[in-house]
């Protein structure tokens, strides 16, 4: 029997409107509301005085590169990066190699996760065969293989008729469609946001319209089919406003914000540092403000990382030739605290709701709450501890981190997954063999 007693922390459980100093107990991987005197004797005690205790964070948008590109990351290293970042549940994208467009590949991912992952890991499947945007993937079989959503993330279905059918079909199966919103005709050869900085740097610009057009399309398709479409990594002011307005009309859409879009602007690209090259790109100060505001008023009710590892040699090249994407799980909580909490823009319970209850709710995952009887996934952090980002110390295999060298406030001190401590603030705690 494993018993855990977390004492005197500021317990914040947004799903239960709880925010008070108190204790949390877990027995055999489940949250319980008290311990018997006997259990108290046997319990492993964690003193959380001065720390925040919240549900383990949930990231619905990560790239683990397994199968096929395990030199960048794999399920083992990716799940450890999650643990170090306070995440206990992650959802991996299907743009692996081969792509996860069939139940065999999904099973392969789930089998590897059973052996290698130290957090709860849920796979997604693709919308279209090969992510080529030409024919529907076997979404029913993918559902049977237990994907939690479908997406062509990294690409976007350009054909509106096919997208309509994908949405209708997934809706029938009760699967959320997550979409990477990008009109490819507007982004040919583009490597950063279109604006003053792309113009100065001579890089081909990626207009905000390329994102807004697809968000608008998806809103229309959601409205006409009744299906839920989730907009991944929203980066534009126009996109946030479209989603906000659609929600007011009762359209079943949701939106996701990334810490990097809320933290940086496209000016960060000025030295051609490829660690600031991501898709969608860093945008203007106005867009950044809209993303921050969207999380505050709930237009973007979810924060996810789009953790996208690439090796140093792949990123060490000319800006226009570098792959898109940055890692983010190990910096997510601190950067969110900097952007929303330490700037006094948002209270901590609401911010944590965007990182726990909301993402779990989106995909119906058994996570994101400290309710009695729930799986004991817990994150304990110090919201004020300062630390300097050094990607060489990360659990991720890759170091393509735009926060490299910056000092942030907010440090994960303990991560507990299903009642088992897996991170102690310094290192990963491996299970006894």
């Amino acid at each position: 029997m494993s018993i855990l007693w977390i004492q005197n922390g500021r317990v914040i459980d947004p799903a239960n409107n709880r925010d008070a100093v108190g204790d949390i107990y877990a027995v055999d991987g489940k949250i319980v509301d008290h311990l018997t005197p006997d259990q108290q004797q046997q319990a492993q005690v964690i003193n959380a005085a001065g720390l925040v205790v919240c549900p383990g964070l949930v990231d619905v948008h990560v790239h683990l590169r397994e199968p096929g590109q395990t030199h960048k990351e794999d399920i083992r290293s990716g799940s450890r990066a999650a643990a170090a970042g306070g995440f206990t549940t992650i959802v991996c994208m299907p743009n692996t190699s081969p792509v996860a467009d069939n139940s065999g590949t999904i099973e392969r991912i789930r089998n590897s996760a059973k052996v290698n992952s130290i957090v709860h890991l849920y796979p997604t499947g693709t919308l279209t065969v090969g992510m080529n945007g030409e024919a529907l993937a076997p979404i029913g079989s993918l559902k049977q293989a237990k994907v939690v959503a479908v997406t062509d993330d990294g690409k976007c279905v350009q054909n509106n008729e096919l997208m309509r059918r994908a949405v209708e079909y997934s809706h029938m199966l009760g699967l959320v469609v997550m979409d990477h919103c990008q009109d490819a005709t507007l982004t040919k050869g583009a490597s950063m946001n279109e604006g003053e900085w792309s113009m100065r740097l001579g890089l081909t610009g990626w207009p905000a319209a390329a994102e807004d057009i697809i968000i608008a399309r998806n809103i229309v398709l959601s409205e006409t089919t009744g299906a839920h479409i989730h907009m991944q990594h929203v980066s534009t002011k126009g996109g946030v406003e479209l989603i906000r307005e659609a929600k007011k009309r009762g359209v079943r859409v949701s939106g996701e914000a990334m810490p990097h879009h809320a933290y940086f602007t496209d000016e960060a690209c000025k030295d051609y540092n490829t660690n600031f090259k991501m898709n969608p790109p860093l945008r203007t100060a106005e867009d950044r403000e809209a993303v921050i505001e969207g999380v505050i008023d709930g237009a973007l009710e979810i924060i996810a990382t789009d953790h996208a590892p690439h090796t140093d040699y792949e990123k060490d090249c000319e800006f226009d030739k570098a792959p898109f994407g940055v890692i983010g799980m190990e910096t997510a909580l601190a950067t969110c605290l900097e952007v929303w909490l330490h700037s006094n823009r948002l209270d901590l319970p609401t911010l944590l709701q965007r990182l726990t209850e909301q993402p779990a709710k989106l995909l119906g995952l058994p996570a994101g709450t400290l309710s009695t009887g729930a799986v004991a996934d817990i994150c304990i952090f110090d919201p004020n501890e300062r630390w300097t980002v050094d990607p060489m110390k990360f659990q991720s295999k890759s170091i393509n981190c735009p926060w490299n060298g910056l000092t942030l406030r907010g440090r994960v001190k303990h991560t507990i997954c299903a009642g088992r401590p897996i991170w102690d603030g310094e290192r990963i705690l491996e299970a006894d063999a």
Binding site: G195, R200, L203, C317, E318, F319, K321
Partner: protein, 322 residues
Amino acid sequence: MSTPTTWRYKDLTSIERLTREEIETVHHYAAQFKKSLDRSQKKLPTLRGKTVINLFIEPSTRTRVAFEIAAKRLSADVTTIEEAASSLVKGESLRDTAEVIQALNADLIVIRHRSAGSADYLGKLLDIPVINAGDGAHEHPTQALLDTFTMKERLGSLEGRKVVILGDILFSRVARSNIWALKKLGAHVTLCGPATLVPEGFRSMGCEINYNLRAALADADVVMLLRIQHERQASTHFPSVGEYKALYSLNEERASWLKPNAIIMHPGPVNRGVEIDSALADSPQSVILEQVTNGIVTRMATLFLCLTKANELRNAQAAPQQ
């Protein structure tokens, strides 16, 4: 020589980073070297024993030849590596290529590359100076140095002068470098051309934008034409070459809207009949061939400055260890 030499960096990768004094330092040495062109013995011993490598991963004839001649006039040895002719650069990363060149004991690299930022990237990797001979749509600093040198020869000070840059601004590294240089030298810059090729964002660099050719050219001291690369743009950025000509090609009538002593410039190669009427390109107002000649002396000046300054930097680093 009374002008003090101002030069801070080992590399010349952009005009944006230079000060007005540094631009004027290049002009000063270019003028000195230009005097030597009139001598029967054109070769100067200045860079004897130095090896310059021209790394041209994007083809260009006139810039490459100008750098070769400039280096030879200063007695440097020059080797040119071109994409088509070389296995060195084919499929190899820019880092690997750079390290090979460093191992070849080159003293300076001139790089032309399709990727914006590639010269900066190379400069950070290497200890030897790097001169940017055009990086994608970013900058072409030596072109701007020779262009402003040519303008000063004809017009004197550029303070308060009106310069119109006409044509494809969006894809043009020449436009970007010239805008930086001209603003630093006190000129007013007006951009003109189809809206699809002249984005509003350029106002943030302190330029005026006018889509009306007549209004743009009114009272201009200089009109700088940019090459229209119609193979790349005609499909989306403007309807046809014919329509471009109808709206923006420079002919005698339109040239009369300029100031009487105004000059016409073009970085070449010229599409005769597209950007400019053929006769006008050969007229006394045109300084297109002077630009070519000045391309040699300004590049001599930049090679000289980068190589001597690199020595100073090396010596300065070595000094504390004595």
